[in-house]
Amino acid sequence: MMSRSYLPHWMHLLGSPPVFYRFAGTLRPWLFWSALLLAAIGLYGGLVLAPADYQQGDAYRIIFIHVPCAWMSLFAYGCMAVAALVAMVWRVKLAEVIAMECAPVGAAFTLVTLITGSLWGKPMWGAWWTWDARLTSELVLLFLYLGVIGLDHAIEDRRRGARAASLLALVGVVNLPIVHYSVVWWNTLHQGSTVQLLGPSKIAPGMLWPLLTMALATHLYFFASVLNRTRVGLLAVEGGKEWARSIVAENAHA
């Protein structure tokens, strides 16, 4: 593998499944508990301390989960795409596993965005769903995630499935901006709903800091969850290897 030599040494080391497995195991609890702590602070700030919105009353409090999840749904896709690119170009086994484990977490964020958006939209628009550009793009994003997950699972061979799904994820990167642009155009053509949940960012500071805290918490949780999943994914792919056997032996009575 000539191309591997372009990577720095520490990446080589971390790219080795047993090393990454231990590294992820050490990092995971720190990320998880700090995410939980930040979420507790952010939600206290958002649900208790922040004042009610002068237009939307208390219904706007869904913002503290809806908007961070919407940001994360795109962030997770970006992470998946970067891992997929590394998997396709350098054929790093670890990158294949990470790309595939990003997908369910990203799909979870997208699903929560859609459901909370719907729960927010009902009192604001009087309907659970509207074909607004942002909602439609988010729905298409969910289908992209489901396609990646479905393709990964439909192919028997784990590594071949991961590579095929990685290619699909990269196709999605080209597709997403086109979808967004076309949906915006379609909306103006058909004079769709112009009500927006979020106006131009004239948000009070008492509302802003809980929102940013929640955004940080969801980022930390995303990394914790991907590490959590990647450990299991590595065990599944490397089941026959010596290091995986020793882990099986360590957990003999678990």
């Binding site: 396709m88 071949r160 076309s182 949906v183």
Partner: protein, 228 residues
């Protein structure tokens, strides 16, 4: 290895595809039959209200053609994978993206082109205003190769997968959204007497982009499907 003429290889591949299609010419009629069935079901579901049918017929015909293209796309590479001719294609000295492009164009002209040709008949059934028909046909002539390029890439990805029929639809949906929006947008604009050139140009731009990128993605997907 001294590569023989790439043009000759493309011609040979085209001849093979057309011969295969001709031998199975009964199968070529199935998408048409499917489109006719879907298009005739709509008036029964919506009632024979001419004004309503005329209003929705453009969109209905687009979705019908898209759905009729799906089954043949899904099995596009299955036979080649099973009888080993896909491996021959990969082993040939010609660039694989070029061969993939030829293969896709041959597939488009044997499955999607008949659908486009039959569209005026379906448009008659659904009472599409006759001044809108040319726009619909141009939109279809741009949208169907685009869908064939995208669908073939996805079909190559699912070549080695189980239960790929639903999976292909799921994967194609996000890619088909912009195509349907611009194609139907052009038809709707023409119907409303508005300028329809912009959405058609966007479709054409997307087609050029897909012509440039999809053969490479398709080739990469075929390599993944073949490697052990």
């Amino acid at each position: 290895m001294n590569a023989p003429n790439a043009g000759a290889a493309c011609r040979a591949l085209l001849r093979r595809e057309f011969t295969l299609a001709w031998r199975r010419r009964g199968e070529m009629l199935l998408p048409l039959l499917y489109a006719v069935i879907v298009a005739t079901l709509f008036p029964f579901a919506l009632g024979p209200d001419n004004a309503l049918l005329a209003r929705i017929s453009g969109g209905v015909l687009l979705v019908t053609v898209l759905l009729a293209m799906l089954p043949s796309l899904e099995s596009m590479f299955r036979g080649d994978l099973e009888d080993g001719s896909l491996e021959q294609l990969l082993l040939s000295p010609q660039p694989l993206p070029l061969l993939a492009l030829v293969r896709i164009l041959a597939h488009w002209s044997t499955t999607a082109l008949p659908l486009v040709v039959a569209t005026p008949l379906l448009a008659l059934l659904l009472r599409l205003p006759s001044n809108v028909l040319p726009v619909l046909l141009v939109a279809l002539l741009l949208a169907t190769p685009l869908l064939a390029l995208l669908g073939a890439t996805l079909s190559a990805l699912t070549a080695g997968a189980r239960r790929s029929a639903i999976l292909l639809s799921l994967m194609l949906l996000p890619l088909a959204v912009p195509v349907v929006i611009f194609a139907a947008g052009a038809v709707a604009a023409a119907q409303a007497g508005l300028p329809f050139l912009a959405p058609l140009s966007w479709l054409a731009a997307a087609l050029v982009l897909a012509l440039a990128l999809a053969p490479f993605a398709c080739a990469a997907a075929l390599r993944i499907a073949i490697e052990a």
